[in-house]
């Protein structure tokens, strides 16, 4: 399985707004912790080490 870097969300605006809403009212430290948890949850959902490696590369570029 390869990493999908094409648009894949039905409503990107709704998804983006939900992400920001989750951070609303949090301190920077709390936001960082939320992001860390979120990444771990999504990594597990992806489940493929190869895809995760490619995602890490894309994020580091």
């Amino acid at each position: 399985m390869s990493l999908n870097l094409q648009p894949n969300l039905k409503s990107p605006d709704d998804a983006y707004a939900a992400l920001l809403e989750a951070h609303e009212g949090l301190s920077k430290e709390e936001s960082d912790a939320l992001n860390a948890r979120l990444i771990l949850v999504l990594m597990n959902h992806v489940g493929e080490m190869e895809v995760i490696r490619k995602a890490l590369e894309a994020a580091r570029e």
Binding site: L9, Y16, A58, E61
Partner: protein
Amino acid sequence: MAKIFETALYPYRRHPDQDAPAPVRHPVIVVGAGPVGLTAAIDLGLHGVPVVVLDDNDRVSTGSRAICFAKRPLEIFDRLGCGQQMVEKGVVWNVGRAFAGEKQVYEFNLLPEGGHRRPAFINLQQYHVEQMLLDRLRELQAEGAPIELRGKSRVSAIGTHPDHVTIEIDTPEGSYDLEAEWLIACDGAGSPTRRMLGLDFVGRVFEDNFLIADVTMQADFPTERWFWFDPPFNPDQSALLHKQPDGVWRIDLQLGWDIDKEVEKRPENVIPRIRAMLGEEVDFALEWVSVYTFQCRRMERFRHGRVIFAGDSAHQVSPFGARGANSGIQDADNLIWKLKLVLDGAAPDALLDSYDAERVYGAEENILNSTRSTDFITPKSEISRIFRDAALHLSERHAFARPFVNSGRLSVPCTYDGSALNTPDALPDGPARTRPGSPCPDAEIAGGFLLDRLGGRFTLLAIGVDATPVEAGDIPLDLITLASEGALLDRYGRGLYLIRPDQHIAARWPGFDETAIREALSRATGNTP
């Protein structure tokens, strides 16, 4: 040459109403002769409803102000008979680009399909739009339409009653009273009508300032909407460039919160900013400068008994998305046919509650979109800025991130899903874009365009199915039969559509059923709850 907005186009003239022994009662009074008030007045005039328009001024608005007029309002102006002049004068555009720093990160085409008479947008200064509406109003007056426009007439007091409204009007020759069966307040964001009635207007203030500069120059930028996040000429802030007619360009620069507005507006401060953007070699002249802040807010209800609010008086949004004037014109479009039916006794006054429900729904959609755009353009927290910058960073390389880039989601008409006027969809396999509540998408048909055949009255649109005329008592119902082919097939499929006078779809069926049509028409006019 005097500029158009320096000319008194409807100067004060004494009216016999001012010398009447008792206040004269009019069916409809419109307060405010801006784009929304004039749209309402022309629509009423076309319906033969006598209307008096009052404005505290006697000329079109100063400065370009609203410049982006969207496809849907242009279609409304077509119905009113003045869309063509606007499109001819306006700068047509469909494409927008967003840049981060100097790199393009996102591009959109707002009208990727053909078969529409009108483009996604034209840019046209608000004063030109108002002037063309005034020209149309004068033309209709000459043909006998019962429209009156009174300049230098400021509403100074208002009283509400169960079956009418009383107002006091200040003029250069003193004040007089009038009565109206219905009053439409189109008197802008600072609405004196709203204030005099002590009504709410709550929402979010955005702590930011933006500089608008209209400049005249000879430049070869394309006719597209260009938006920059963090450009080198305005670091850490945004910028927007847009072309208007007459060689005028709109430049919009984010300034931040802690600034002195009066100082920023001075030419000696504005000119270097513009020069930094355009380059040393470009000659330009300042046409109009303004510094604005904005809010996203609305009235809880747009109808208060016999007083109805439309346009900025009822709702306000940030300018990113061109959802201000465009939504106000759609308010008028939604309201006037309903008011006409109520005045004729063909519908109960509860029909006007559907104006409130539908346009509050529209305003909510506009506020949601414009708030999201604003949060992306001017992130309100550190984490929000981190995500914004991450999206911009990723969008340079990866397609998936580009739809996150939000420099304004531009005005499209809303679908009135869930409106009490809709009849449940009897063609659920038909195209989703023409489900009940939707604005009719245009399509090229033999001899012209579909939308030119619709509007002003209820219409049965039979596409690829047989239908016969239906006599519906007080409510005129036209019948148009078309073959199901080309864009029409793609956008409507095959079926029978009931179209409202504002070109929204009220009901659709796989075939002709007279009983169902009568029921749907009754529901769409508020006669059946």
